[in-house]
Amino acid sequence: MTTQVLNSSTAGKTMSKTKLSFMILLLVGLVAPYAIYPVFLMKVLCFALFACAFNLMLGYGGLLSFGHAAFLATGGYITGHTIMQWGLTPELGILVGTACSAAMGFVFGKLAIRRQGIYFAMITLALSQLVFFLYVQAPFTGGENGLQGIPRGNLFGLISLEGNLAMYYFVLAVFVIGFSVIYRTIHSPFGQILKAIRENEPRTVSLGYDVDKFKLVAFVISASLAGLAGSTKSLVFQLASLTDAHWHMSGEVILMTLLGGVGTIFGPIVGATTVVTLQNYLSQGPLASWVPVILGLIFVICVLLFRSGIVGEIQKFMKKNFN
């Protein structure tokens, strides 16, 4: 996907600016639960991680996955199941959930990278629908009811996560780890090659890179982090349900990324915050039944009028006026 991204290799200045922004965000994150309801913040963080993971593929690899809901749901279900049935501690449950999403990402990736562009999107969508139907029928997911009352438990068997504040800082730590993985991936030689594939795949092949291998690794990293987001989310809400596996969820994460800015570091965070806030706000008002229509409208407006997203437009504006 052709997007105006500030190229990381052009200047160290951009890097340090990004780091500074990240430090400010982290500070805000540390004090936020004293001003805003922690459960809402945790929801934002989980979806922000989900969107960042998705953005790694679309924004940096040019790969539009329409099946990321499958990874979110898998993380949630596996974490919920292992904690409830096997009595795992939260961190182990999350690790197992993430590992299962990674494995599923490997299978999806292996199949989907056999085709390009629009076919890639359709294949990932079809595969995630297959997973959805499996979860409807599989006994361990609890069908329509989902897994309810997943205990948050004690972190490392020591620290209780039952309190929202403790849980919040745990989620924040998970988010920072996930975000750092994405940041490191993007700002590595691997990330550069991924961008090269996005810009010109045949040329990258001609330079001797095994394009399929890079795409597959990007897919697995993205799927794992989406799974990490799903695992953490299942602990926050103590619930894993079919909503997470539905294709609407795959659409929502695309919207978050598109709205915030495809191919920008902070775009998905801004997009996820906006969409989650909007959903929370609207679902209590008279417009509750219009939420899907409003999301659809934002989609259309984004695609037609500002394809760079919020962060992308700000970056363009700054570049034009202050450089």
Partner: protein, 295 residues
């Protein structure tokens, strides 16, 4: 009567008939998707919503204006095609220069808007639409009972599919369309109005979806969500067949319907997933699709 493969023939043929009917819808929808993709290079994610719109135009027409089934069969595709043409002229047109994925995202947003509005006004439960008088009843073929309306669906969709194939492969207009798929700039240089051709093609593809929607109205209940789940299956069908050929889209659609019907007889648990499994096998064995040309 003797059993066939351990199943009473009524069950086997009954499911095969349902499979063939589903296959007719897959064929009509994947044909529309393939035609639109050929010229516009976008995947029309609103296809399911437009199929639903077709059914709703027929239902609303009958309820409020007394428009009967036969008129609706012509009128609904025209109405929905007009909406499609408006979408193409005002929105899709702006995206042809951009990455093709934006077309997918735009039509996805439109699908959310259309589906969401209809859910708001009509709820998710289905509205009944009765079978027209001339097509009620059925015939006993000896080995199974064939309801007339179901036979009509198969005949009507096959006629439309064949007609479309003939138009594209054997007529002058079809030759323009195929030329436009190969090289739109060159076609325009020869004096053909390519933007108009694109608009009409989108309209025709959308009309096919609406036609399928009207056909479906009497046998499936008319509901706002009738299109979206069907569309994902059709996407899998398109991946299996490859969008390279018109006849390929039709044949794959019918074939997948039959496979789904057979699965319902032999292993019902897998009937919702079998088409996706076939897609996986095809991707492993022949990634370009059964009828696909590109690697």
């Amino acid at each position: 009567m003797a059993e066939l493969l351990g199943f009473p023939p009524q069950v086997l043929f009954g499911q095969l008939l349902i499979g063939l009917i589903n296959g007719s819808f897959y064929a009509l929808l994947s044909l529309g998707l393939a035609i639109i993709f050929g010229l516009l290079n976008i995947i029309n994610f609103a296809h399911g919503a437009q199929y639903m719109l077709g059914a709703f135009v027929a239902w609303l027409g009958l309820k409020f204006l007394g428009v009967n089934y036969w008129v609706a069969l012509v009128l609904a595709p025209l109405v929905v095609a007009a909406i499609g043409i408006a979408i193409e002229k005002t929105m899709l047109r702006r995206l042809y220069k951009e990455d093709h994925l934006y077309g997918l995202l735009l039509t996805f947003g439109l699908a959310l808007i259309i589906e969401g509005s209809f859910i708001h006004f009509f709820g998710v439960s289905g509205q009944p639409y009765s079978v027209p008088a001339a097509l009620q009843g059925g015939n006993n073929l000896g080995f199974m009972f064939l309801p007339t309306y179901r036979a009509w669906i198969i005949v009507a969709s096959l006629v439309i599919c064949f007609g479309t194939w003939y138009m594209i492969e054997r007529t002058k207009l079809g030759a323009y369309l195929r030329a436009g798929t190969e090289n739109p700039q060159l076609l325009q240089a020869f004096g053909i109005n390519v933007p108009l051709l694109i608009t009409l093609t989108y309209g025709y593809g959308v009309a096919l979806a609406a036609f399928a929607g009207v056909l479906a109205a009497p046998i499936y209940s008319v509901s706002p969500v009738m299109g979206s789940n069907l569309l994902i299956v059709v996407f899998a069908v398109v991946v299996i067949g490859g969008m390279g050929s018109i006849s390929g889209a039709i044949v794959t659609g019918l074939m997948m319907g039959l496979i789904e019907g057979l699965t319902k007889v032999f292993y019902p648990e897998a009937s919702t997933t079998v088409i996706f499994l076939v897609m996986i096998i095809v991707l492993l064995v022949r990634p370009a699709g059964l009828f696909g040309k590109e690697a």
